[in-house]
């Protein structure tokens, strides 16, 4: 039984250079995951991932620290740790993207590890935001206060 990490892979019909860009630049990251990203893809650089609109009281910001930036082979960063501490094994989750060139493109491998220590926080965060870019949760969260306002109006 292993709760320590989650591993996923997908084949992408694009060069490792392109895939690397998509997983490591703030502009692209914001298109497939959080709403806002501040990050320089340089080892040791710190930044943040923000979920939810900047005006929303539900906005959630997670710090991140880039661990490895080795284009176009590997990009990794730590997240889900307390503000003010240095991200390290045991106090954060480590996300690693490994890019393996293939004949038709790139095999993209994602590993997220550190769940032994940080599993609950991550699970809550994921459960709350996992479908935010593509599904109902995101819109429902915005719709609910709006509907409440309509209902409470005289």
């Amino acid at each position: 039984m292993e709760y320590g990490s989650i591993e996923r892979e997908i084949h992408v019909e694009a060069s490792p250079e392109v895939v690397y860009e998509v997983v490591s630049t703030p502009e692209h990251l914001a298109a497939w995951w959080p709403d806002e990203v501040e990050m320089e893809p340089v080892p040791g650089a710190t930044g943040m991932l923000a979920f939810g609109d900047s005006a929303s009281p539900d906005r959630h910001v997670e710090p991140l620290t880039v661990v490895e930036a080795d284009p176009p082979r590997r990009f990794s960063f730590r997240w889900v740790y307390d503000e003010g501490v240095t991200a390290a094994p045991g106090n954060s989750l480590l996300i690693t993207f490994d890019l393996v060139p293939t004949d038709a493109g790139t095999l993209l491998r994602m590993t997220e590890s550190g769940f032994r220590e940080k599993g609950w926080e991550a699970a809550v965060l994921e459960a709350q935001y996992r479908d935010h870019a593509s599904a109902w949760d995101y819109y429902l969260a915005r719709l609910a206060p709006y509907v409440a306002k309509l209902v409470s109006a005289p």
Partner: protein, 119 residues
Amino acid sequence: MSTVIDDELWSAVGDPIRRRMLDLLLADGRGTATTLSEQLPVTRQAVAKHLGVLDRAGLVHGTASGRERIYAVDEAQFARAVAQLASVGAAWDARLRRIRTIAEAIQRTRDARPPTDPS
């Protein structure tokens, strides 16, 4: 399902010794603080404390038997803990599909760009 309960559930399985204890209980079907401590590098007292945490999280149930309590895993609660991680995995599947869509679109745009005319 309340957040407080889930929080307990997750921190309960977050500890490596407690996970080892769950492994042993699942393998043996049941155990006591004494039998578990014999298979672990921690004292009986420490195991008893960990069992208390697992019990409060609903992951194990104890039945009194003489001076000891016999513990067994609560399958339903255990399945919930596993499902939490599965949902994290599903979220990643969705994200990787989005990464693929974006990367393939960029690649198509670059491939379609006419080669620069050297003249």
